[in-house]
């Protein structure tokens, strides 16, 4: 039973149709990535799911409760980190967390411990008693994530959780977010502009102009591009071409002195390929389609590109995480 079900959801603001008949499910305990260019309708969808907006038509169900008909039960099931900050800047970090805990009915005896755990979780323990107005943007963001976790919700909505974070904090936060489904059985619904983050999501949906234009796992998405590309440098391109044709029945093409061919699965194709051109091959290189390629192909826009440093650390996190699973 999916923990989020969206059926033919439509939201209009006057003449603007922000969400235009979208449907999707999110499985319990998964990380679901919602991607799309600016103004695509991501935040609007989240606002409906977290009961702040009513849909114009269609249905949204969270944790078995209809968002329009049983908002109170939906609210009990969810936590959310909004795109724009919603902290009280005149309170301290601890007071913001405590307020949240009380209003969600966390037991009094639990509040302090949970707040301390949450603060250390996002690395803000030493700023516990500072007023939030003295926090940097990144610190506020981290505090908001900590706050969203205080009441241990079943579903956590994150609207661009890592926006404005430096690479270090971003990868720390990521490490934490990735563990949520396993450690706490939480389902994470998130929007992001970073493709490294999108890669880690179990399932993705790409929304543009209020419509979902693609859905699936990151691998399935990349399938849209049509496979991996293998580039081969050889001593003799002509000879290699013939050998490939003979052994694999495929025609390699030539570009900038290199041979290349598109294959469905590079790992499986390389051994026979190498065997066929063992004599002439100098080097082999694989290029996989990225989600950015997919995004670009579908929406005509790039997902925001990541600066090198940040991307590397995130990639490392993701690799480490993949190894564990």
């Amino acid at each position: 039973m999916p923990v989020i079900q969206v059926e033919h959801l439509v939201k209009r603001f006057g003449p603007i149709t922000a969400v235009n008949d979208i449907s999707f499910d999110v499985e319990e305990g998964s990380i679901f990535g919602f991607l799309g260019p600016n103004g695509a309708g991501k935040t609007t969808t989240i606002s409906i799911l977290c009961t702040l907006l009513s849909p114009t038509s269609g249905r949204a169900v969270v944790n078995g409760y209809d968002c329009r008909l049983e908002p109170q039960k939906v609210r009990k099931s969810i936590g959310i980190v909004f795109q724009d900050t919603t902290l009280d800047k005149d309170l301290t970090a601890y007071e913001n967390l405590a307020f949240h805990a009380y209003i969600y009915g966390v037991k009094k005896s639990e509040v302090r411990r949970r707040a301390e755990d949450a603060l250390s979780f996002v690395g803000l323990t030493d700023r516990k008693d500072d007023l939030v107005k003295r926090f940097s943007g990144g610190m506020k963001r981290r505090l908001e994530v900590a706050r969203g976790l205080m009441h241990q919700p079943k579903v956590l909505f994150l609207d661009e959780p890592t926006l404005g974070l430096d690479p270090q904090s971003r990868s720390n936060l990521w490490e934490a977010i990735i563990e949520l489904p396993e450690k706490h059985g939480m389902t994470v619904f998130m929007t992001t502009h970073y493709m490294e983050e999108a890669e880690v999501c179990g399932r993705l949906a790409i929304i543009d102009h209020g419509k979902i234009i693609a859905r699936g796992s990151p691998e399935e998405m990349k399938g849209i591009i049509g496979g991996d590309v293998v580039y081969i440098k050889t001593r003799n391109n002509l000879k290699a071409k013939e050998e490939i044709k003979e052994a694999l029945g495929m025609t390699a093409e030539e570009k900038d002195g290199e041979l290349f061919l598109t294959v469905e699965n590079a790992e499986a194709s390389i051994p026979p390929l190498i065997r066929a051109i063992a004599e002439t091959a100098l080097s082999v290189r694989i290029e996989r389609p990225t989600l950015n390629d997919v995004f670009l192909k579908l929406t005509g826009k790039e997902i925001r590109r990541e600066e090198a440093g940040g991307a590397d650390t995130i990639r490392e996190e993701i690799r480490a995480w993949r190894r564990k699973h």
Binding site: S54, R75, I78, T86, D90, E95, Y102
Partner: protein, 259 residues
């Protein structure tokens, strides 16, 4: 039972937040006491030179209930208007996605205004000996009780107002077109019965009129002629309580409404 606990918790924490912020802003507190004192000892004292003492009591004594009403009016509205701040800075969303009923949110907000106003009104009330008034403990207690009730009603009214406005720029509109007329048409400065008919009608639909009149009933001893209270204490308190309920219900409605 657990549900009720959750609602009470929410009310408590909303009030605690407001109070914490109020106590942190000492300058706001001092400024908010300065306004009524200026009115009492400058405007009141000045006007008392041209209002005949034969009218029944010195003018500074006459406007004392009005000044208490003013203290409550301003600080309650200020406190409730913070809902607009919360909208603008996003914190209202944090409150609105919480699993508590919208009425608890409104009651919590209204009680925040009540506590803050009550503290100020109680401090102003202590100035009575300087005005040459002689009050019994019973009168002071009654005036305090009434102040709390009026503060709640006006705070709830402030939340209704705040729910109409999106940004803090609207504050001056609220100030000039709602708060100032409410103050001047409340019997604070002059007895309602002496007003011309249109103004008298306006005053009689103003909840603050009854609040101030109730304080007059508590502080003035009987038989003070034209300067005395305009209505009976029962009617005054009835209107204050009924309007409180009305405003809480209205404000909850507005909070329940989703775009």
């Amino acid at each position: 039972m657990i549900e009720l606990n959750l609602e009470l918790n929410a009310i408590y924490v909303i009030v605690a937040r407001e109070l914490k912020k109020f106590l942190r802003e000492k300058s706001r507190f001092i400024a908010s006491l300065a306004r009524p004192l200026i009115w009492l000892f400058m405007v009141g004292a000045g006007l008392s030179r041209i209002v005949s003492p034969r009218a029944g009591m010195p003018y500074t004594q006459f406007i004392f209930p009005g000044i208490l009403g003013m203290t409550i009016l301003f600080s309650s509205i200020f406190s409730s208007i913070s809902v607009i701040w919360d909208k603008e800075f996003g914190f209202l969303k944090e409150i609105l996605v919480a699993p508590v009923s919208r009425s608890s949110i409104v009651i919590g907000k209204a009680l925040s205004g009540t506590v803050v106003s009550f503290i100020q009104a109680a401090i102003i009330l202590l100035f009575f000996p300087l005005l040459g008034m002689h009050l019994t403990l019973g009168q002071v207690m009654l005036a305090l009780f009434i102040s709390a009730a009026v503060a709640f009603s006006i705070s709830a009214f402030g939340i209704v107002l705040a729910s109409f406005y999106e940004s803090y720029e609207s504050f001056s509109v609220i100030m000039n077109f709602i708060i100032m007329p409410m103050f001047f048409l409340s019997g604070a400065m002059y007895p309602v019965r002496l007003l011309q008919t249109p103004l008298r009608v306006a005053a009689s639909v103003n909840p603050l009129t009854y609040g101030i009149d109730a304080i007059k009933n508590a502080l003035f001893t009987a038989g003070q002629g034209p300067m005395g209270p305009d209505f009976s204490l029962g009617l005054d308190i009835g209107v204050v309580l009924a309007s409180s309920v009305l405003f809480v219900v209205l404000a909850s409605r507005f909070f329940e409404r989703r775009a």
